[in-house]
């Protein structure tokens, strides 16, 4: 027994033991990861598709099953266009949404263009906030906003995900106006009437001041970059127009 104890506690055995244990456990974890990777990717895709259907109301106001979202998105959107901010070089892959479904030749009717959506991200109060913002065809107003990832305080900052708050963004003006200090203003304090900020204002959530300030900052940063990219786009050629 004494000999066995001595062997077990030798540095060589300890190294071999840890090495073997690490390899076996890593293999076990890898098996689980590999078997679920498709499910996880599918979940992400479903979530993104559901967000797009909701943002552009692609289901025509009807309730839809999340499982049907990818098919609806495939029918109504073109995701081939990317624009770049000339100042920072940041690229925005655009989702171009159409009211009418894709034609048999694969194109869309440009008359039914609803708008564009792009992904935004930035640091919230506790952790990064990610989401999608849908804008009108001229990128001068907001169609809708959705959050795909946020870890703000549940019940306070986390309420930015709730529909009543997101609905406040619909119709906001976001065109570049030199007299407007910001593209969007999220604050508890309403801007003075008659100023350029009136149509850009969203009431902040009481008790979630820090999250709202962070959201205000990150949305303005993303929107400014997007507007530069959108204004700089070289005669946008959505897939639809190629087929006309």
């Amino acid at each position: 027994m004494a000999g066995k104890t001595r062997d077990i506690n030798s540095p060589g055995f300890a190294l071999a033991f840890i090495g073997a244990l690490a390899v076996i456990l890593a293999a076990a974890v890898s098996v689980i990861q590999v078997t679920t990777v498709k499910v996880v990717a599918g979940n992400e895709s479903l979530r993104r598709s559901a967000v797009l259907v909701e943002l552009f109301d692609l289901a025509g106001g009807q309730a839809f099953d999340r499982k049907d979202a990818p098919a609806i998105v495939e029918k109504h959107t073109d995701q081939t266009m990317t624009i770049a901010d000339p100042k920072t070089g940041r690229k925005f892959p655009l989702v171009t949404a159409y009211r009418e479904p894709r034609r048999s030749d694969g194109g869309f009717n440009p008359e039914s263009l609803i708008g564009y959506a792009f992904e935004f991200d930035g640091l919230g109060f506790w952790a990064p906030i990610r989401g999608m913002l849908a804008v009108s065809p001229k990128a001068d107003s907001v169609i809708g906003i959705a959050f795909t990832d946020q870890k703000e305080t549940p019940g306070l900052g986390g309420r930015i995900e709730e529909k009543w708050f997101r609905e406040k963004f619909a119709g906001l003006s976001i065109f570049v106006e030199p007299k407007a200090p910001k593209l969007i203003n999220i604050s508890l304090q309403e801007p003075p009437s008659g100023t350029h900020m009136v149509n850009r204002h969203v009431d902040a959530i009481s008790g979630a001041t820090q999250t709202c300030m962070a959201l205000d900052r990150l949305l303005n940063e993303n929107l400014e970059s997007f507007q530069r990219a959108f204004g700089n786009r070289a005669a946008p050629q959505p897939q639809a127009e190629k087929h006309d």
Partner: protein, 222 residues
């Protein structure tokens, strides 16, 4: 048992029957209100009952299987690397739970994902592996892991029921009857201080009904 092992006298006590081990984990040595272990996650995930249930399931799984694996390997585990080995084993089972929750409950994972990862460093897992599984056969160790996980879960579920009801006016996401007519949000219950107050209340009540755990004259000191 050597001088290197950090255990309480209760933990060192050899189990006679699985039922006794189960009772100790849930009541006599409850990780929350007796050993005061795993408090971080108790405070972090208890504002919604569903998230708490997922967290509890993950912890029961990780504690039970870590205990079982450590017990199976205890006679071959070099003492100088045993802590590393225990963390490796716990990490493996926690990563399995994390992956499963991500695949099966993606929305909940977005909220509790960081805390699930932190189960690896949960004191309950390391505490039970060191105090119990390293000295006991596999079956009692497995039961001990389950018992401590269940003991942790019962306290968390009670706290979560209280916090979600007062903080959100819901239970498992379902609104209370006629909520809009009478319920008013207790914001503090959603915030970390609410968790502190509720936890303190839960410990107080639990100790009142199960004894205060104070040593009686003549009992051995730790």
């Amino acid at each position: 048992m050597t001088e290197e092992t950090t255990t309480t006298p209760q933990a060192v006590a050899k189990p006679k029957k699985p039922a006794g081990t189960l009772r100790r984990g849930i009541l006599d040595e409850n990780p929350i209100f007796r050993q005061v272990l795993g408090i971080c996650s108790t405070l972090a995930v208890t504002n919604l009952l569903f998230n708490t249930l997922l967290m509890c399931a993950g912890l029961i799984w990780a504690t039970a299987l870590t205990n079982l694996t450590v017990s199976l390997l205890r006679n071959y585990m070099p003492r100088r690397v045993r802590m590393i080995a225990e963390v490796l084993i716990a990490a493996c089972f926690v990563m399995m739970v994390d992956t499963a929750i991500r695949a099966l409950f993606p929305d909940a994972h977005k909220i509790i994902g960081p805390y699930v990862g932190l189960i690896i460093t949960n004191c309950i897992i390391m505490g039970r592996a060191e105090a119990f599984a390293m000295q006991n056969p596999p079956l009692p160790s497995l039961v001990d892991g389950i018992a401590n996980g269940v003991g942790y879960s019962l306290v968390l579920i009670a706290i979560a029921c209280f916090r979600e009801t007062l903080g959100f006016g819901t239970v498992l996401g379902y609104p209370l009857p006629l909520r809009d007519m009478w319920w008013h949000q207790w914001v503090i219950m959603i915030m970390p201080p609410g968790a502190f107050f509720t936890l303190a209340g839960a410990v107080w009540i639990a100790r009142h009904y199960t004894g205060d755990g104070a040593q009686k004259p003549g009992e051995a000191k730790p």
